[in-house]
Symmetry: C2
Subunit: 376 residues, 2 copies
């Protein structure tokens, strides 16, 4: 396998290093803006040098972001090259364009590193689906948020202090919006649900609430009620209905998710036969992420090119009901739906995910968290 590598940042450099000692795959060209000398590969500033190199059968996309990553990947597929990528934003956004295109062109497309870093999560979903249907995916998919929430709960830090520590440790970026607003989790949920259910979910109907507005006082209140706050993604396929959403969620201390420390992930699937299985590990980092990109390339070599065939585009219906902890301006809708008061916040009667997130959109300074429900 001759690889054209797009990007030489954290993940790209990792892929270059991990493949350099392998006999079955080698990076032969690298697209990189910086000046760079590599012993085993030619470095170029021009994507066309990779696109037009017919000896390159596989493109590893490690630029990140939507553009020009999407255009490069699309062009590579159209040119008949396999693509392995860690780019969850691109895969979540263009899933229903890229996957059919790859199948039409007879090339492979995988993105195992895009969810769970070094965890073999998407590849396991692929394996599971050979024998059973999956009706649930979700859990803690973002290490940055988990680090912040864990630090607030265990070290009694304010949100700002916890975020500062996460940034100092390299777990959060200077602009942490993608993580703390739940966008990263949202991307990962979409890709996971698409693979698990064999569909292409209409992403416009999938809401995400983040942790940007959480305070130490919220945390103290949760603690008083024996609860912990985690950012949880949920994807379900039950009785023909798809549901998908991301939201801060209060969980009892006995839940497996409660024991997830630092920047770790705990991602869960529930299969109709095998039951509930969870995967625990670091969901990011150069080598874990690069490792799963190399695993995808190894899968290409053994003829496993897709997780599943492209499935039909389907809408989600988030009519499931939770009681929500809500701290924000109490308007008439909220007043109508108030069940009790927790400090300066209220707890709602059971309301649908859809309605709660609609309210949140109109009240962006508020903080919401779903209360515990019965186990799956």
């Amino acid at each position: 396998m001759r690889i054209g590598l797009l990007g030489f940042g954290t993940v790209g450099k990792g892929v270059y290093e991990l493949t350099s000692a392998r006999a079955d795959m080698q990076v032969v060209r690298v697209l990189c803006r910086r000046e760079l000398q590599l012993p085993d590969a030619e470095v170029t500033h021009d994507f066309n040098d990779i696109l037009n190199d017919e000896s390159i059968d596989t493109v590893v996309e490690a630029i990140g972001g939507l553009h020009p990553a999407f255009e490069y990947v699309k062009a590579a597929i159209e040119a008949g090259k396999n693509v392995a990528t860690a780019n969850k934003a691109m895969m979540a956004t263009y899933y229903d364009e890229l996957l059919p295109l790859a199948q039409e062109k007879g090339v492979y497309l995988r993105c195992t590193a895009s969810v769970g870093g070094g965890i073999g999560w998407l590849s396991e979903l692929e394996r599971v689906r050979r024998v059973e249907a999956v009706h649930y995916v979700g859990g803690i998919m973002n290490g940055t948020c988990n680090y912040i929430l864990d630090a607030m709960a265990r070290m009694d830090l304010s949100y700002e202090e916890a975020l500062g520590r996460a940034q100092a440790l390299g777990y959060a970026e200077a602009d942490p919006s993608t993580d703390i607003d739940g966008i990263d989790t949202w991307h990962k949920l979409i890709v996971s649900a698409n693979v698990a259910f064999g569909v292409s979910l209409d992403i416009t109907g999938i809401p995400a609430a983040g942790i940007r507005n959480i305070t130490k006082k919220d945390m103290d209140t949760f603690k008083k009620h024996g609860l912990l706050c985690k950012l949880i993604s949920t994807g379900k396929y039950i009785d023909g209905v798809y549901a998908a959403y991301v939201q801060p969620t209060l969980i009892p201390l006995t839940d497996p998710e409660a024991a997830v420390p630092m920047n770790y992930n705990l991602i869960t699937l529930a299969g109709d036969i095998s039951g509930r299985q969870s995967f625990f590990g670091q969901g990011a980092g150069r080598y874990p992420t690069a490792y799963n990109v190399v695993q995808d390339c190894a899968d290409f070599l053994s003829g496993r090119g897709f997780y599943c065939a492209y499935g039909k585009k389907v809408g989600v219906c988030n009519e499931e009901k939770y009681s929500y902890y809500v701290r924000g301006k109490v308007d008439s809708w909220l007043e109508e739906n108030t069940e009790e008061t927790w400090g300066k916040a209220i707890v709602t009667k059971p309301v649908s995910v859809q309605k709660m997130h609609d309210w949140l959109k109109a009240n962006p300074d508020a903080f919401i968290a779903a209360l515990p429900r019965k186990a799956l």
Copy 2:
């Protein structure tokens, strides 16, 4: 794929049900002692009816135990049939006979259901090894012991009460020795380490201590020190040395293992590149176990017949040191190695796993548990 199914108990019946709706594999003959009528398969009391049926390409062994399971599996391999099994005792005991034989005969042999029930644990080790070396496997591999220890810790039950509940719930057998003496965990550790490290460990050097002698008073003492007791398996390959052992282990409440409730498993691997990953799920049960047997058959169909090539037979060296909680008759060796006293028990200075387990063998009424050490 035409399957000859050996045994129609919990797992066998599950395999029959799960395959009955599939187009790519079907159970055509079933070996069963009882009188039985099946719509889609012939039932026989005679193994030779399966062995001599040339249309049968795959044997699923679901009898359990060493004999005659081993003889049947060996004969099936010699007759050129693939074998999928959930039998950890057989695979641990005869690994270095069955695996080379299958490779020599050009047939497949898998046993994914033998460790972790429905968790894709052995198959994930196979995947991991394509890209990196594994240097650690282990964790909570036995749901019965975890149920008992969890019930004692959380419900304040005596050992006898907890065992009684496990038996009432079907998590423990009438004679629970295989589980509580750590033998089941020992089998699972051996199979896991063999696959993870690509070797055949000399099982005679691998010690197992169980939980038979633990008491409520021990538990109270652990609680006082902020610790929980779990039955933990450990397999390591570090600096060219293999280590493997099973022992009750005291862990801080913040460890992921501490959050494992009921009869769940938490099994961990550490790879050189991807780092630490854990797998959480129910480690037993009809459908999870049968599910992974069917997964093995699906792997046969796609040409994945072994986790890894048979590796050389190697010895283990358990010179790693722990401090141990020991409650038992204090002889001169124990007195020499006593560091402090915890209630009626002592805590040793760091002593090697080998020495501690040698002592335990001479003092079978004692209870030992390793104290927490630094993280991996």
